[in-house]
Amino acid sequence: MKSAARHNSRLLLSRAIGLTAAALGLNYIVWRYAASLNMNALWFAIPMVIAESYGIVDMFLFVLMSWRQLDRVALAPPDKADVDVFITTYNEPEELVETTARAAMRIDWPDKKVYILDDGARPSMKKLAEEIGCGYISRGEEWARKPKHAKAGNVNNALLETSGEFVLILDADQIPAPSIFRKTLGFFADPAVAFVQTPQFFYNLPPGDPFGNEASLFYGPIQQGKDGWNAAFFCGSNAVLRREALMQIGIREYVETMEKREKETIAKLSKQVAKTSCNDEETCAAVDRLMEGLKSARAALDDKAPLERVSDLIGEAVRDAEFLVSRKDVKEIASVLNELADRGDMDAAAVYRHIIGNLDSIAGRTPSAALDSLRMSKEYVEALNLSRTDEAIPVQALATISITEDMATAMRLHSFGWKSVFYPEVLAYGLAPEDFGSSLKQRLRWAQGTIQVFLRDNPLVKKGLSFPQKLMYFSTMYSYFSGFFNLVLLLAPIIFFFTGIAPVSSWSVDFFARFVPFFVMNKIMFRFVAAGIPVWRGEQYNLAMFPLNIKAVLSVMTGKKLSFVVTPKHREDGRDFRLIWPQATVIVLTIAASVYAVVRFILGSGIDPIGLTVNLVWGAYNIASLAVVVKALYYRPPEGWEAQLPDFLSGDADTHGIQH
């Protein structure tokens, strides 16, 4: 354990480095706008300087993030607490779930209940749960023909069936360490703490991490930085959550949704009814009655009357209107009977007298199609019912607005004033995708989900979040927009080689004096904050994932339907070249263009030698970054390599390192 004093002095140094890097970045970018745009090629200069600005803002956000980095130590757990362990599964192999469930049963905590949340409703899984002695929960009949909301729905369903004060959520492959509750529950002594997130650690990463799945930078300095601003992210697994906090945001969401729906539906209905024409007394009276009901409902809503009452006001109006329309129908029948009676039909005359004598009671008992004839859609009336008929369960604690539910949920918790904790010790061991294709699918899902949250629940305008919290959420979302800007950075050398046009007005001493210190300091800062965690693989992927990030943004923006793809937990075979064609194209173009430029230079074309050198280095950097995906596509783990299961599966519980 690092001492607090050492952490503090390290943090001060980190701030100094961060501030220096930010100042140098600012110095560079201001000069770029003010004095070095290539005015002869603005089509090139402007996209370039925008791409550079994107990077500078990214750096500012990084400096802010690292500003209050925390280094937490575990606190003593409470004497007693009821906890539930949720193991979520959909289609993962049984052995995988079994390993996790057996490890969960061995967690060192007396008052725990372990449940397998089986969204696949597999009888074999139910049997497995019985064998192991843990609980089994799958969706009930109320979910038939309703949106399932994938994992979020699975957990929301289980929350209603269980009652522990705290809930540990585990993906099917995340094997928990025995000490996971002893190390995390102590943080809940603060009643405002809603969740404690621990790292995702992968025990199956092949040597060299070819797919860039290693997450210790995120589940280390980055989360610790966000934690400093009370903005640690909930990541869907390996986290302990306070049930009360989850239920509370679920209820608030229900109230907000119902209020909004009531308002919108009244507006829609009013419009519809206003358009309805009527030719007879009763129908006109029915229309009037509906309008009146909608009006008073609207007034009650504005008055902040309970929605139950608002809904009932409309319900009454609908019933009255139905009655009036039925009454008209019955009267029409009566008049036909009357005609028959006039022609001497005595039976008809008797029925006529009966109907006229009991007009209201008959109309009240006659089913009416009033809603149709008044052109009121049934869905609208149902929408006003407060029963959330479109959903299986009314209270949804885990947010369902996004295919990545975790970020949206954490944001909602933070916005209601709950606190979060990131505890950096690895307490669960899981599987990363074992082939490139699956790894890309997972990245795409995260990117799409994050952008979805950005569009639907923008943190920058979300009430209840502090300004730093807004920025912490924003910075993660912001990073997924990098694809477009990275494309500009990748194409720039190619354009220079072929055309001789540069985005800067000249490759002057001024340029180097401003760019090099900034660039070097930025790299130093990143490595200092990373504190020994390798960063090059991440930097490579950051640039190389440009096609995927662009695809993610476009698919979300254009509203293409996104489905929650379960990340495959086993190797999918196939070296599909289509996965990397954009990167391969950029590599080939860069090489071809640089050869072309060098040959022209040798032949004496007058190309600027400094510009040529800069762009050759730049192009080489781009190729070195992009090469990572080519290697990944053709990667095969070394002969005899096997994933190593964590030691504790055979060893003893680890309870040291807890501060009393």
Partner: protein, 117 residues
């Protein structure tokens, strides 16, 4: 036993369910189940006598919402009567007073506020 649930026959066209004890995570499941049974047996017009409920938490409130959904879907109602301070406070805190129309006691709940003036 956290919660005692008693169905009282009011002799009128609505059912009265008297709760006493704690409506929390431990008792929410049983409560929802009983409400569902009642509604399925045709009693969807329900008044909840909450005067015996000494404690309610978010899970309990969530169960009340489930009850409301169940009753209203069947065309009935789900009225809360006689809330104690703790329950009333939590309901307000969670903004559920925006949804539930609450009544001082069962008698008041039988003749609801006719309009929202």
């Amino acid at each position: 036993m956290d919660l005692i649930i008693e169905e009282k026959n009011s002799g009128e066209d609505c059912g009265i369910v008297a709760l006493s004890g704690r409506l929390n995570g431990a008792s929410a499941g049983e409560f929802k189940h009983r409400i569902k049974q009642l509604v399925e047996s045709g009693k969807s017009r329900l008044i909840l006598d909450m005067s015996g409920v000494v404690f309610i938490d978010s899970s309990g409130l969530s169960a009340l919402i489930s009850g409301l959904k169940c009753a209203r879907e069947a065309g009935g109602f789900f009225r809360l009567a006689g809330l104690r301070d703790q329950a009333a406070t939590v309901i307000k805190l969670m903004m559920l007073d925006r949804v539930f129309d609450t009544y001082a006691d069962v008698v008041a709940a039988k003749s609801p506020k006719s309009s929202a003036q």
